[in-house]
C-alpha cells in the first residue's frame, strides 16, 4: 500500500514537475514557436491527408524520414536535411507509383518496414550520444536552435503558400477525382505535388514529435475535426485548432516532466478525438431519428409515371430510396 503510494507520487513528479518553470520556459521558447508552426501545418495538411485517405502513407513516409535522419546522423550531415531527403523521396515514390487507397496500402506496407530497418541499422552504427538516437523516434523539444527554427518556419511557409495556391483544385481532385479529371484538372500532377508537400510536412514533424508519432499530428486532429463538421472550411479551422492544442499544450506540459514530449502530444490529441467521436455519436443518434421521420413522410410521394409499365424489368434497375 505504502509502496504503491510512493510509486504513484514518483510517477506524478516525473510527469508533472513545475519547479523552475519560468527558467525552462525561456529555454524552450524556440521549441514552442516550432510547435505552433507545426500545429498549423499539420492541421491544414492533415485535412487533405484525410480527404485523400493517405493515413497509412503518412506512416510510411515517416519511417523513411527516420531512415534519412539516421543516415545523416551517421555520416555527420545535417539531420533535418537527412529526414527531408528521406521523406520527400518516399513521398515521390508513392506519388509516381499512383498511390491511391487499396493497392497503395500494400506498397506502403512493403516500404515502411524497409525504412524502419534501414534507420535502425544506421542508428546502431552511430556512436554518438544515444539521446540523439531516441529523439528521432519519439521526439524532443529542448534542442531547437534558432537556425533550426528558421529553416522550419521557412519550409512551413513554403508548404502553406503552395497549398493556398492550389487550394480549390486540390480539394476538388481529393474529394471527387473522376469529375475533376473530366473538368480538365491535372489530377495526377496535383497528387504528386501534394505528396511532396506531405513529405516536407512529415520531415518537419519528425523533428519535434518523432517518426513513430507523426500520425498524432497529421491525422488525429483532422479526423477529430471531421467528426464534428462536414463543412470544408470549418474542418480546416477545427483541425488546426486541435493540432495547436496538442502541440503547444503538449510542449508546455512536457516542460515540467522528464519524459519525452510525444506522450503529452499524443494523449491530448487522442483525448480531443475521443470527445469529438462522442459528440458525433450523440448527434448521429438524434439526426438518424430526424431523418427517419422525414423519410417516412416522403416515401408516400408517387414514383413517377414511367414506373407504370409492368414489364418486370423495371424493378431490376431501381433501388429503394432510403
Amino acid at each position: 500500500m505504502i509502496l504503491a503510494e510512493i510509486d504513484w507520487s514518483s510517477f506524478l513528479s516525473s510527469v508533472f514537475v513545475f519547479d523552475d518553470y519560468g527558467e525552462l520556459f525561456v529555454l524552450v521558447r524556440n521549441s514552442l514557436w516550432a510547435g505552433a508552426v507545426l500545429g498549423l501545418v499539420g492541421g491544414v495538411v492533415g485535412t487533405f491527408v484525410m480527404m485523400r485517405d493517405l493515413a497509412f502513407a503518412v506512416h510510411g513516409i515517416a519511417e523513411l524520414s527516420f531512415a534519412g535522419a539516421a543516415a545523416a546522423l551517421l555520416i555527420g550531415a545535417d539531420v533535418i536535411t537527412g529526414s527531408l531527403v528521406g521523406s520527400v523521396l518516399a513521398a515521390l515514390i508513392m506519388g509516381f507509383t499512383g498511390l491511391h487507397a487499396r493497392e497503395g496500402n500494400s506498397f506502403v506496407g512493403v516500404l515502411m518496414p524497409f525504412g524502419l530497418g534501414l534507420g535502425i541499422l544506421f542508428l546502431s552504427l552511430y556512436e554518438g550520444r544515444s539521446s540523439n538516437k531516441f529523439s528521432l523516434l519519439t521526439g524532443q523539444i529542448v534542442s531547437v536552435s534558432s537556425l533550426q527554427l528558421t529553416s522550419m518556419v521557412v519550409l512551413s511557409v513554403l508548404v502553406l503558400a503552395v497549398l493556398v495556391a492550389v487550394w480549390r483544385p486540390l480539394t476538388f481532385a481529393s474529394t471527387d477525382p473522376f469529375v475533376a479529371r473530366a473538368k480538365g484538372l491535372p489530377v495526377r500532377g496535383l497528387s504528386i505535388l501534394f505528396m511532396v508537400l506531405l513529405g516536407v510536412s512529415v520531415a518537419l514533424s519528425v523533428q519535434i514529435v518523432g517518426a513513430l508519432l507523426v500520425l498524432a499530428l497529421l491525422i488525429t486532429p483532422a479526423a477529430a475535426a471531421m467528426n464534428l463538421t462536414s463543412s470544408p472550411g470549418r474542418t480546416v479551422v477545427l483541425s488546426v485548432l486541435f493540432a495547436e492544442l496538442a502541440m503547444v499544450g503538449g510542449i508546455l506540459l512536457a516542460l515540467g516532466g522528464n519524459i519525452p514530449i510525444s506522450p503529452y502530444v499524443t494523449t491530448i490529441s487522442f483525448a480531443l478525438w475521443l470527445v469529438s467521436r462522442v459528440v458525433r455519436a450523440v448527434r448521429e443518434r438524434s439526426a438518424s431519428y430526424r431523418r427517419a421521420v422525414t423519410a417516412t413522410a416522403t416515401t408516400t410521394t408517387p414514383r413517377g409515371a414511367v414506373a407504370a409499365d409492368g414489364t418486370g424489368a423495371a424493378t431490376a434497375s431501381s433501388t429503394p430510396a432510403p
Binding site: A165, P169, F172, K183, G304, T311, A314, S317, T319, A321
Partner: protein, 294 residues
C-alpha cells in the same frame, strides 16, 4: 470500309458513314464532330471509321453492351483518351480545351461517409473548383450555388453532408454541378444507373430541360434507353466493333440490330417502352442488350 471485328463470328454490316445532322441545324457548326475516328486497345478495335456530327441542341444517345466502347467514346469527347486515328472536336476545339465548358454528369458513385463536403460544396466545385487559389468572392459563388440548387430542387438538403445523401439526391447535385459551367455540351455517363424510377425521371428531365432552355447538345451514354427515349434525336449503337447511327426508329429495329449483332435480335415495343432481346431465348426478356451478349 469494313471495321475489324476480332472476337465475333459473322461480321456485322459496314458502318453507315452517316454525317448528316438533322436538317434544322445543318448549316450551324457541329457541337461535336468526329472524322474517321478509330479507337483500339492493342489488337482490339472498339470502333473504327466513325464519322459523326452532332448539331448544337441535338440529343444523342450512345447505346451498346458492356465493353463496346460506350464509356470510352465519352472519354474521347472529354479528352481523357486519345483516338487511335482520326480527329475529334468538341465545341469547335480540342476536347481537352473544351473540357472546362462541358457539363459532365458521371455515373452515381457513393462518397465516403466522412467526406468533408456538403451538398452545396459539391455544386460549388462545379462553379469554381477548377480555378487556382482560394475562393475570394464567396458571396458571388454562394448566390450561384443557391440558384443551381433551386433549379434541380435540392435546396432542402443544401447543408447535408454528401456522404449521407441517397443516390438520387447525389445525381441531382451532379446535374447542378454540370450546369454550373453553363455548358453548350452535356456529357452524361450512365447518369441514371442504380437510381429508382422516380429519380431516373427527375434527372433525365433536368438534362432535357437544359437542352430546351439553353440549346445545349446532349450526349447520353446509357445501357437502357427507355428513361430518355422521349428526348433522343439520334442513337449511336455500338456492337461487335461495329456501329449504327440514326433516329431511334431507324436503329432500334429487329432487322438492324440483328445485322449489327450478327445474331437474331428482337426489338419489342410495349407501352412506349423498348425491349431488346435475343430471339433464341425468347422466354427471357430484358431491357438491357448487354444480357444477350454471350
Amino acid at each position: 470500309m469494313q471495321p475489324a471485328t476480332p472476337r465475333t463470328g459473322p461480321a456485322g454490316p459496314g458502318p453507315q458513314n452517316d454525317a448528316a445532322a438533322p436538317a434544322t441545324a445543318a448549316d450551324a457548326a457541329p457541337a461535336i464532330s468526329l472524322r474517321d475516328a478509330e479507337l483500339a486497345f492493342g489488337d482490339r478495335v472498339l470502333w473504327s471509321g466513325l464519322n459523326l456530327d452532332v448539331a448544337p441542341g441535338e440529343y444523342l444517345a450512345v447505346l451498346g453492351a458492356n465493353g463496346t466502347g460506350k464509356t470510352s467514346f465519352l472519354k474521347v469527347l472529354l479528352g481523357l483518351l486519345p483516338l487511335t486515328s482520326g480527329t475529334v472536336s468538341v465545341a469547335g476545339t480540342r476536347p481537352r480545351v473544351a473540357a472546362a465548358h462541358v457539363g459532365y454528369v458521371p455515373q452515381q458513385r457513393g462518397f465516403p461517409a466522412r467526406t468533408p463536403l456538403r451538398a452545396k460544396d459539391l455544386v460549388a466545385q462545379g462553379v469554381d473548383g477548377h480555378r487556382w487559389g482560394v475562393r475570394l468572392h464567396p458571396r458571388r459563388v454562394n448566390r450561384r450555388v443557391a440558384e443551381l440548387l433551386e433549379r434541380v430542387g435540392a435546396t432542402e438538403y443544401a447543408d447535408a453532408p454528401v456522404g449521407l445523401l441517397s443516390g438520387g439526391e447525389q445525381q441531382r447535385l451532379r446535374v447542378a454541378q454540370a450546369l454550373a459551367a453553363d455548358p453548350s455540351v452535356m456529357l452524361c455517363d450512365e447518369a441514371l444507373l442504380s437510381l429508382d424510377l422516380h429519380h431516373q425521371h427527375v434527372v433525365s428531365e433536368l438534362v432535357h430541360e437544359q437542352r430546351e432552355r439553353h440549346g445545349s447538345t446532349v450526349v447520353f451514354v446509357t445501357h437502357d434507353v427507355n428513361p430518355i427515349i422521349d428526348h433522343v434525336d439520334r442513337i449511336l449503337y455500338l456492337a461487335n466493333g461495329s456501329f449504327r447511327i440514326g433516329t431511334p426508329d431507324e436503329v432500334l429495329r429487329s432487322d438492324v440490330l440483328s445485322q449489327l449483332y450478327g445474331t437474331d435480335i428482337e426489338v419489342l415495343r410495349s407501352n412506349g417502352r423498348i425491349l431488346v432481346a435475343g430471339r433464341s431465348d425468347s422466354t427471357h426478356h430484358t431491357d438491357s442488350p448487354e444480357e444477350i451478349i454471350p
